[in-house]
């Protein structure tokens, strides 16, 4: 998928730079962009609830928060890292009249690649420039917290991936707001969630 994105990036670049002076070696600008967001998530994998649990209540919704730092070079393929925190799911019930509560959350630490859809049609000023796709892979630190006959908080790591699509609306020279739809999948832990986020995008500095 990254190769695919990279190829598309190169393709868009060729179209855009075709009329430019081939002797002009000046590159840039380069920008560091920080994105922070939050929203609502829905856990879409199978939830395993112990068969011994009675009066079970399951909650698949969570409130995720994410932080992404990207390097925007002078071509379309952008690279960065993403982390955050999200509740994947929780369930509660009773075993022998004693309450049980299990909450599963995750912290992704991902290398992400992003690219605006400007290669589809139009120029940098067109609307599609504001639409982008992002994909990444890395580690998910899965946290589980059990409250039953005491409390146990435990962690396990899992490889996984994410893919998302977003629309970014400029509101000032340095700030933008974005809406993003994401799919997270911590593969080994079989934890996958769909989420919708509102994000604040800050072009921290350029050179």
């Amino acid at each position: 998928m990254f190769l695919c994105l990279y190829s598309l990036s190169t393709y868009g670049q060729q179209v855009e730079l075709a009329p430019a002076d081939s002797l002009d070696t000046k590159r840039g600008p380069y920008t560091i962009v920080v994105t922070a967001g939050g929203g609502l998530s829905y856990f879409s994998s199978r939830i395993g609830v112990p068969p011994s649990l009675e009066q079970t209540r399951i909650n698949r919704f969570g409130i995720p928060a994410s932080l992404r730092v990207m390097w925007y070079p002078d071509h379309r393929l952008r690279v960065g890292i993403e982390t955050g925190w999200m509740t994947m799911y929780s369930y509660r019930g009773q075993v022998d009249s004693e309450p049980v509560r299990v909450r599963v959350s995750t912290i992704p630490i991902l290398l992400v690649f992003s690219m605006p859809l400007a290669w589809l049609r139009g120029t940098d000023r067109s609307l599609v420039r504001r639409l982008s796709v992002t994909a990444g892979t890395g580690a998910f630190l899965n946290q589980s917290r059990l409250n039953y006959a005491g409390t146990v908080a435990a962690n396990t790591s899992s490889l996984g991936w994410m893919v998302s699509g977003s629309y970014t609306q400029p509101i000032s020279r340095q700030l933008r707001v974005a809406g993003e739809l994401k799919w997270f999948d911590a593969v080994a832990a079989e934890n996958a969630a769909f989420m919708a986020e509102i994000q604040l995008v800050w072009r921290a500095f350029s050179w």
Partner: protein, 421 residues
Amino acid sequence: MKLTSYIVTGLLLSLFLGCGRNYEVPVPYKFDNTPGSGRFTSSIRRAMEGVYGVTTGSGQFGEQVALKWTYTVNGSDTTHYLSIFTGADAAFFSMEGSSQTDSLVVKGFWRKLVNTENGLSRLTLKVKRNNEMRAYTDDLSLGDTLVLNGTYGEQTADSFQPLTLTYRRPLNKSPFAILAHRGGGRTSDLLPASENSLDIIKLASRLGATGVEIDVRYTKDGVPILYHDNTLNLRLIQKNGLAGPIEDYTYQQLSALVRLINGEKIPTLEEALETVISNTSLDFVWLDTKYIGPMDKMQAIQQKYRQKALLARRNVRIVIGLPTTDALESYEALSDKANTPVLCELDTAITRRLNARIWAPRWTLGPQTEEVKAMKAEGRTVFVWTLDEAEFIRQFVDENSFDGILSNYSPLVAYYHYVRQ
């Protein structure tokens, strides 16, 4: 055109990455588990045990097989099962006597452990007398040959293939320990019971084992339990959201909320030893020390169940395995080592220093012929672990230097041991 090809490539990649196959091998036969052995009396069972030539069906199961009856005990009830061990792809049959016909019929299933092939099978015991096949009625005369004649199916296919097994000779009776790893077999081999469960221990002898190795850990509140890995994970347990080191959970928490892959509870060490003594014919238990810490509780349980076995007139050896220097230190820290048999997986010098009665090197160190000879000359037993390669199992059994083999494929070890001449 170029854009289309990119999109198609992306979709194909997504499909490829998203379509991991989930392997399952459901047992195609439902056992009645009726106590007894149907029409198969003890003398018929004794007569049946042996090495048989595969007259038809050798393409699937090899040229010869070994037949052995085993049993499980439940209170005063004993239930007998027929196992057939083959040398082809670690295949085995597990069958029970049928009481629904007038003939001597066994029904059950077969399974190849190296893949997911399995199917139903139904065989009828007959006798070949003067070149004529006739029903067997426990009246074997000189010149008679027992023949098991019937069919086997493949997977869920409706069609059945002929299978004929013809008696050749008795089983090899020389003493040899066939030790099943993780209580009987690994969860990853898709057996009908999970590794380190009570159900797999009850199944072990039907898989050819004469003894089992089980993995011992402690819960947070100090209860010795059976579990191999150091964390709760989806390889061994059903999904429940819990993760992390098993030592972080109390026995109450694990017992109430955690189920092994096939739905069993994680057993305590005491439940496992009780099962070995009360429900099986197994005569050897290897307690693999998977934890770091004091060994006194495990020692107390070992001694308690050794006494229980003796009271039940069962000669079950229960030994503590010492796989690491940490386990060795825990053992050496015991205040009283009397009546605490150990199995040393470390080198021969340490084995001698501890005066361990059993030495168990890993198989990848090779046959170690001289060391094995020397240890046996000193009166020690020598096992080798964990050997799953068919060719090496055959070689190690044929060389007859080791006293037993620990394997994930106990049916394969059973086959090579019982057919050895």
